[in-house]
Assembly symmetry: C2
């Protein structure tokens, strides 16, 4: 892991890093030393590790919860080069959807393919981050919606260091098998009028989690219109489960 830069803003230290080919960012409380809970965040499709939805929440998780927070670019996103195979499939899927084919199964298959790469990548990032003195081997949480849910569910299922996860805006097609292996507490976001993920598929994914504690939070509005009070709720949920 190589740190490329370090800046600070309003008490939050931001370090850009690379781990092999993976560009990432780590946020920690300014001047932090010693072990602390770490939240890995998965960004949305077509976005990147520092998209506003990630940046805003990461700053709040660090400033208000004292967490370390990290995000990395998904292949073909952000600072990573175009991924020829993924790009070809995504382009084909767009054409098939434009021709009338149902989009959800296409997206599901695509996310499952990408997850076979991102799950081991994210585990390697966890390994490296937990070697840092100001992160350390503390409990780990995950936050990711939309693409960050599609890739997050298999990650949470396969990574025993993750003890709690905020997921959502994703459907069962992509992730039901992996969800059945998730046993940690889950807070699951549903947008009631989601124009991208059919409501019944969202409810089916919530249903599929094997977790004893799993809470579904549904709110009116479209895919991108999650109300801000859900950030408060996510912070409390992650604090409750990661901070003894």
């Amino acid at each position: 892991m190589r740190f490329l830069s370090e800046t600070s803003s309003e008490g939050v230290c931001e370090q850009l890093f690379t781990l092999g080919e993976i560009p990432g960012v780590l946020w920690t409380p300014q001047g932090a030393t010693g072990t602390r809970p770490l939240i890995l965040m998965g960004h949305g499709g077509g976005h990147h590790k520092k998209e506003p939805a990630i940046l805003y929440r990461a700053h709040r998780f660090v400033a208000e919860g004292g967490f370390a927070v990290a995000a990395v670019d998904v292949p073909g996103h952000g600072d990573r080069p175009k991924h020829e195979e993924y790009h070809r499939i995504a382009t084909e899927n767009q054409a098939r959807a434009a021709a009338g084919e149902e989009l959800a199964p296409l997206v599901a298959g695509f996310q499952a393919l990408v997850a076979r790469q991102t799950v081991p990548e994210w585990r390697a990032v966890l390994d490296a981050l937990q070697e840092c003195e100001h992160v350390g081997p503390g409990p780990v949480g995950y936050w990711g919606v939309s693409l960050g849910c599609g890739l997050g569910v298999p990650f949470v299922a396969d990574e025993p260091r993750v003890r709690a996860a905020v997921l959502g805006l994703g459907g069962a097609l992509a992730s039901a098998d992996a969800a059945a292996r998730v046993t940690v507490p889950v807070e699951f976001l549903v947008q009631w009028d989601d124009e991208r993920v059919p409501r019944d598929r969202c409810l089916a994914l919530y249903e599929a989690f094997a977790s004893t504690e799993k809470t579904l939070h549904a709110n009116p509005g479209k895919h991108m219109e999650v109300p801000d009070f859900e950030t408060d709720s996510a912070l409390r949920f992650l604090t409750r489960h990661l901070c003894p």
Copy 2:
């Protein structure tokens, strides 16, 4: 309004009262003076104004939020005499359900009937409580699930002093028309494995609220198994909307 008794426990003052035929209880912070937000709580079917589910939450709302909290016995419940007509209908409904008839429509009709009495009763209780120096004309919230939802939805719809409501464990059959007149923020509880209210009816009631802000919180488990962290959430929700 006549106060019958006053006791205190752990910083919470409890006053039993009657308003005409209606027995009620008011909880306030010990030594409270002046206007404060008031939460009216509706108890469950077969229970009463001081059932443990009410008492526990009322104490927390007072002790942690500084609210005034009140609950009254529904006709035929608690300290009220048997209500011959309601008792006859409830007994008939039990017999019809035992004979194989679907329970939900019977319960819905029954709750609609009772609400025609409880809505004006509860409004009168609000009038009287807000005359008390240690309650005053502050903002009002409502908390009620199960029967407290069936009776609460028409109350919240008809009472403009109510600015936010926690409802749930109830279905659309009983309350959809009234729900369509509810415009205040709602936090709505669903038990995913509710053995008394079909899940799709709960989701339909959530759908029916006209409120711009309405959050559905679903959790695994049966009708009576709402997890305790939903009390934390209700307290925060009511505080956010009632305490400027």
